[in-house]
Amino acid sequence: MSTQLEDAVQPGPVVVDIAEVSKRFTIRKDNSLKERIVTLGRAGRQHREDFWALRGVTTEVRAGQTIGLIGHNGSGKSTLLKVIGGIIEPSSGSVSRRGRIAALLELGAGFHPDLTGRENVYLNGSVLGLGRDEISERFDDIVAFSGIGDFIDTQVKFYSSGMYVRLAFAVAVHTDPDLLLVDEVLAVGDEAFQRKCLDKIRSFQQEGRTIVLVSHSLGQVAELCDRVILLNQGEVVVDGEPLEAIAAFRDILEDRRVAEVGSDGVPPRQVARVISGEVSVQGRAPGEHLRPGDDIVITSTFEHDEGIDDWVCAIQIDNEHGQVIYGASTIVSGYQLERLEGRRAVDLTIADARFGEGKYFVNVSLMDFAGRHLHDIPQATSFTVRTEGHSRGPVFAEPSFELRPKA
């Protein structure tokens, strides 16, 4: 954490300057010559539909920053990434850029299946702007990083998809980029390789390289980025602190979910509602910081207009990065609930809770036995835990070191 914060303090020169960029996609339904001739002229216009993927996006990226682009599907984040990469031209506005760029958009897309791994490394390296000698120089590193080993002289079409992606990633990160564009590709490969990728990205950050990444994993974004841009329907909604942007994104997601539920025919006024969630600890004033070992009581209130027998009270606790730290529900605990009609409150006591230092958010859900969420309040309430600072991470347990005597 500390390293990222210090990186943010001293940003370098502007690497990408984006001014008033808009992108319109025209969706055509007539794609063959015949259809187009038939629908020539005015009729043709009915077969076209405009879709604004980006609207008036203005921002700049400074060297050394790691920027996360988040937003739901179709919000324009991948388009923005491709506009930065010069792969898609904006309909209006300007983009300028400097330095060497490497794009991990569709990994290994430039690979030719009939060529060997070795030949593809040269081809791909050249695509990313390396000279032949430079590739030869780094070739061993690339192979070592990819972990492909002897398969390097095998045709790429015989590779497993994991090997394919690993080799492509290895080439891209060895091109000495000033600016690295990453689109959802960190979720590839086995866990060990993912760890390797993340380590590589961290060392890139240390070396002052700029990274722009698109990810659906909010936890990853919170962990890696020092700035997050939230896009919604092609517009920048939030551009700033990761936690702030992620919180805003959660709100948008929740609005959409509610809207979707509403459009499914369920009346907008819900029959089942979560009214509130509250945290209390015996012996501590409301708002006072909690300590490890406290018995945390979470009181949630539910309401149902028609009455429901198979209902479940579920509580989930997330940390600041959006990672799930704790979850409990009446069905998992085997606790029998009475029929819910009107308003009822449920107390959940988490005995001897040992959360680590930090802020935690409580999500309260009302579900049925089939696991359907009838209503949720994400971040219904929050609490902060203070420890003596003896350990890090989401779990607190008192550490004690002892040097063993010499054998």
């Binding site: 187009r36 898609i88 300028s96 569709e106 430039g110 081809l123 002052g208 003896h390 890090r392």
Partner: protein, 318 residues
């Protein structure tokens, strides 16, 4: 406290290295000018994209090699296959048209005559067909990273030229075997012929490759077009036959003759087909070729402009 401190201390020692690396990078970046990413709206348009293509010549080289390597990768005869087609064509046309239909009677050294035409025409049709498919065939690269997209049709031109060179060697070997290596001043006609094919072929490859991205019908249209072009030029019959049909000096004959493909084929025949005397060729052949070449340059410029206009939306149309 200790665990946390140990971690920080390790970071601190690496810090000074990373710091200097970072500052060097920043300094280097500050010196490089910010460049507009939007290619089609750059002021110096055509010229700067030519410079960019030149800057990517190593890439062009690799792409050509890749095309050639990948084409016959898993076949045991390998690139010999690229010779099978023209040689079969030669055999069929020689036997069927030459002997059965009697075209050979009016044309001395009929085999050389046909192969000469097929060689130069093969180059054109391969440029057009390969070029048309080039952008769609490289979807992966086009969508992945920005490269001057002209590279893909140009790579198709390059690999067509390689096959052409191989065929040319066979053609020359054949002339030697048949005892008449074309060692005469007329051999120089090969160069304007080649130039004509390259200029028109490249222009068409640029336009068609871009159009094919939006309308996949183009590649089928091109198959028909190349067949038409072949029969519209004196490859398996001689120019004199057309002259006799249309009548010398007629407008139809002029239209037929001034087709750049016809001119290129005629020029190539003048270079490698020794048996034909002056009466086999139209008057002012060289002048016609020069004019066609100049028009071709304009056409190439137009083709490139069209290509640059269309390329902005490639990545999303693919």
């Amino acid at each position: 406290m200790t665990a946390a401190l140990g971690y920080d201390r390790q970071v601190m020692s690496e810090r000074s290295d990373a710091e200097s690396v970072r500052l060097t990078r920043y300094a280097k970046l500050s010196e490089t000018p910010l460049q507009s990413v939007v290619a089609s709206r750059r002021l110096s348009g055509g010229w700067s994209s030519l410079r960019q293509i030149f800057g990517h010549r190593e890439m062009l080289d690799l792409l050509i090699r890749r095309d050639l390597k990948a084409r016959y990768k898993d076949s045991s005869l390998g690139f010999l296959w690229s010779l099978v087609r023209p040689l079969t064509q030669l055999l069929v046309y020689y036997v069927v048209l030459g002997q059965f239909l009697g075209a050979a009677r009016g044309i001395p050294e009929f085999a050389i005559f046909i192969f000469t035409g097929l060689t130069i025409y093969g180059l054109l049709s391969e440029i057009i067909m390969g070029g048309t498919a080039s952008i769609v065939g490289n979807t992966g690269l086009v969508k992945k990273v920005y490269l001057p997209r002209e590279i893909f049709p140009l790579a198709a031109v390059g690999s067509a030229l390689f096959n052409f060179a191989v065929q040319l060697v066979i053609l020359i070997a054949a002339t030697i075997v048949l005892g008449a290596f074309p060692w005469h001043a007329g051999l120089l006609y090969a160069f304007p012929s080649l130039a004509l094919v390259l200029v028109y072929g490249t222009a068409l490859a640029l336009i068609l490759s871009a159009a094919n991205v939006y309308l996949r019908d183009i590649q089928y249209l091109v198959e028909v077009l190349t067949m038409l072009l072949m029969w519209a030029s004196p490859i398996v019959y001689s120019w004199t036959m057309v002259r006799d049909t249309f009548g010398a000096g007629s407008v139809a004959l002029d239209v037929y003759t001034n087709n750049p493909v016809t001119l290129a084929v005629l020029g190539f025949q003048k270079a490698f087909w020794m048996a034909g005397d002056a009466s086999h060729f139209p008057p002012d052949l060289l002048l016609r070729m020069v004019v066609a070449f100049l028009i071709g340059l304009v056409f190439l410029f137009v083709g490139h402009t069209v290509f640059r206009r269309l390329q902005g939306d490639f990545a999303q149309a693919l």
